[in-house]
Symmetry: D2
Subunit: 277 residues, 4 copies
């Protein structure tokens, strides 16, 4: 590369800037660490943390991250993401594409509750930083939600599970890590206070769900809300892959949502002739 090329090439290369990875022929560094130093010495969850945060976590932090990632891997074929993975696997595309069609639908409704929950907790934490007591901050934020926003409080309630079996276990583990000083425990406090306040106001318990519980953990570990959705994608990708693979082995071609001998209900215009133009 001659000097005359330099400026143009430099401009091209600076268009793609990253703090994540450095490369030269025969060399790969992630966040400043040689890849061959990382391999075999840093666990997979710790590598995820390093890539997203820029620094290595403690072993305990990595363990807690791994716990949250493992908890949400699957919710069965009635979840649109899982059903899509299985249907796609029968359409003649690679397993990567079956996964992509599925991951793509982990949007605001299907994958965004954790992000919304952590934002909600964060608003309360900010009020507490400003001097509010936990209960006051929780009550005020919930009040605002019930008055101005709509739908479900993010992170609470489940249309299928009266109590989501993942949530209490995750909260229990969060408390355990907090007791050992790995995390502070503030988001666990907020989530529990929220659950109590929702019960008080609604007159019935609407328990913390998986999204609310993983949001607690991700928040405790210092992840910003949008990464909560990204981490959920990493987690659910495991179930998406498992189901795409199982469907591949079951076979089938162009699997539809209902048994092949069924159709759908047509509710439109009755048969009619094409008008003479």
């Amino acid at each position: 590369m001659s000097e005359r090329d330099k400026t143009g090439r430099e401009r091209g290369e600076e268009w793609w800037q990253t703090e994540i990875i450095e490369m030269a022929p025969g060399m790969i560094r992630l966040r400043g660490y040689e890849i061959q130093d990382l391999i075999g010495r840093v666990s997979f969850p710790a590598t995820i943390w390093l890539m997203l945060r820029g620094e290595l976590p403690s072993e305990d932090q990595a363990a807690l991250l791994g716990i949250a990632l493992g908890a949400a891997v699957d919710h069965g074929p009635q979840a649109p993401s899982i059903a899509i993975a299985r249907m796609a696997a029968t359409c003649g595309v690679g397993i990567n594409s079956a996964m992509a069609s599925a991951i793509n639908v982990l949007g605001d409704v299907h994958g965004g509750a954790g992000e919304q929950a952590l934002e909600f907790y964060g608003d309360i934490a900010v009020a507490m930083d400003g001097g509010d007591a936990l209960e006051v901050a929780v009550s005020a934020r919930l009040e605002r939600f019930l008055n101005q926003e709509k739908g479900y409080v993010p992170g609470f309630g489940h249309r299928f599970h009266p109590v989501d079996p993942r949530a209490p276990r995750l909260l229990e583990l969060t408390r355990e890590f907090a007791s050992r000083g790995v995390i502070g425990g503030r988001f666990a406090d907020i989530a529990e206070a929220l659950e109590a306040e929702i019960a008080r106001r609604k007159g019935k318990r609407i328990p913390l769900n998986i999204d609310g519980a993983t949001a607690v953990i991700y928040g405790e570990l210092g992840f910003p809300p949008p990464l909560t959705r990204g981490l959920f994608v990493l987690s659910r990708s495991v179930g998406i892959l498992a189901h795409a693979w199982e469907q591949t082995q079951q076979g089938g071609r162009n699997k539809g949502p209902l048994p092949r001998e069924w159709l759908w209900a047509y509710t439109g215009t009755a048969p009619r002739p094409l008008p003479e133009s």
Copy 2:
């Protein structure tokens, strides 16, 4: 931009080379034509042709392309592509993403039959170019298929329609365009001879389907086989959009494949305790 930059910038720009579009501030040309000259004077199907082929079609050619594109827009919610579009539309993603998850599954099995059919016809056409009579070429290719390849002859038979109502109408129109000299009619001959030969060998009629019929038209118009799949994507995208939009209006959150109060059949390992590690 100084002269010193030139070489690097030129190298960057030549990395992205295209014969399709030329631009400068205030100017857009497609295949050499000013965009403002095209707009309002060239139909949408003709624009599709120009973009893919590099030259403008005749009005008749564009009309026949439009006919094939219009014929395959939808096959209902039991098609994985349509079901996926509708499910995705309830997951909190944009309509573009609902469409993408659906289009993505128009793979070898769900979207590739037209491409395979046109390749099959093309093999026969090559044999005819080499001097074989139509019936000889058809019989030889079919013989090879039945002996060495497997599954269905691409473009023939339908798991739902005894006769696909789109195919005979498309073939009728193809004959009409051929009679006016717009196209040659050779691929229509090949498809009909194939249908007859399959019937003779199998002892029952396995009629031409939509993929086989559109492949005839795309072949007559000179499109190479891989574009047949691309054109099918353009066509089916219309139904995908219509269903995504209808589902958006129907509402629903995280629509699964089966009624919400149903589950799926679990056929795996019985409940078991986690082993002591």
Copy 3:
């Protein structure tokens, strides 16, 4: 299917309801019309309209829809959608998947300006329905935008084209169709008044762009704003396909954004040894 099956099957089939398509073995109806009646008698843009709206358009309406669809097919490889289609085409996936990765990014920023523009026009139209004069309604809405919202007025200005060559031509055609009574012309009035008011307030002309111009047409034709994005997807899919196909023919494996012999600028942490755990 016995009577005992009926209730469960009916419940299954009603889970998937549509007014778009009706099917039985050998029969396909779109919006009440037999598919074989539509094929060859209804143009591709008219079929798009029928699928999305439920009724057939007039020939003029279909023509105007086709004009808007044809205008936005491509904006070259510096548009992320087009670049993604070309890169994907070198990665060993089907043309449908290359298209899907590209279409998927036609989101709020890349594909949403038309939708936002039509919503903006619609707010003004509502004020006019309430009795406001055009200029008053335009000025009030723009005032609100400049005070409370941020960024660019949707549908105006272009980072590359001082004047987007597609917009004036589309507006000219809109006027022509309005003069023949095909459409009312109100959205064209609104867009022109907006352009004038923006110029007055900003002291420089920020002209209507392709998104603003197609939003005028889609609004005139009665499409709701979210479909504006869907129609843009149908339109841009043509360019996406053309570029994916051209790249396939050019060849290449795992095409990156920059020339192969270049890298990117690494701006992160300096090399460091892995800490002793």
Copy 4:
């Protein structure tokens, strides 16, 4: 649900069959284990194994799986997958959709080398099961490849790295796990014999790359070749997420592949007037 519903519902539910997950209100079991038993006691890589294989791995097996997953998380913005993730992140779509567009391109060329490598190794292993010595089996398979197949031997050579720094480290760890009896070491033997034989025949060393090295590990652990690609997707998703997130923080709208002030090289037809129709 009455008895009359039963048959239809049962048919619906059996259409979606899985051995992976069992659910009832308040209960989730993965492969027979209660989710609350798994959470906190089974690592993330072990959960991935359980989901894909149906049984829990040993701690050592899970550790080796985690090593392979961690090794391939990123290869920088010149990889199409990473570039696409970053571009998508500027287009106004959710982080899940930015990830999906990227994951989607991990196809036969970009993501399939590991799968192909493991199939290649497997052919050699089968010959060894039939009685061939390692060197004989390797030589015969390579002979066949060089004579009948084309391109690169899958898993060997790298267009950028003279020696891929990940591969020797992964092989060293594989040997270490084999020496402790966690795995057999046969695929490591095959890969090393292949490398030697390629060098002998080509007269230059074409070293094992990341795909070839992870294929060794996945093969040693008993994963079938198609899952090798699925595991690569899980691994690379980490880098895809990290880059999408970094780009989100850097900002930008509709990021193209080249610096904004550049274009592309147009190599098509010269400007021409639209023909009079």
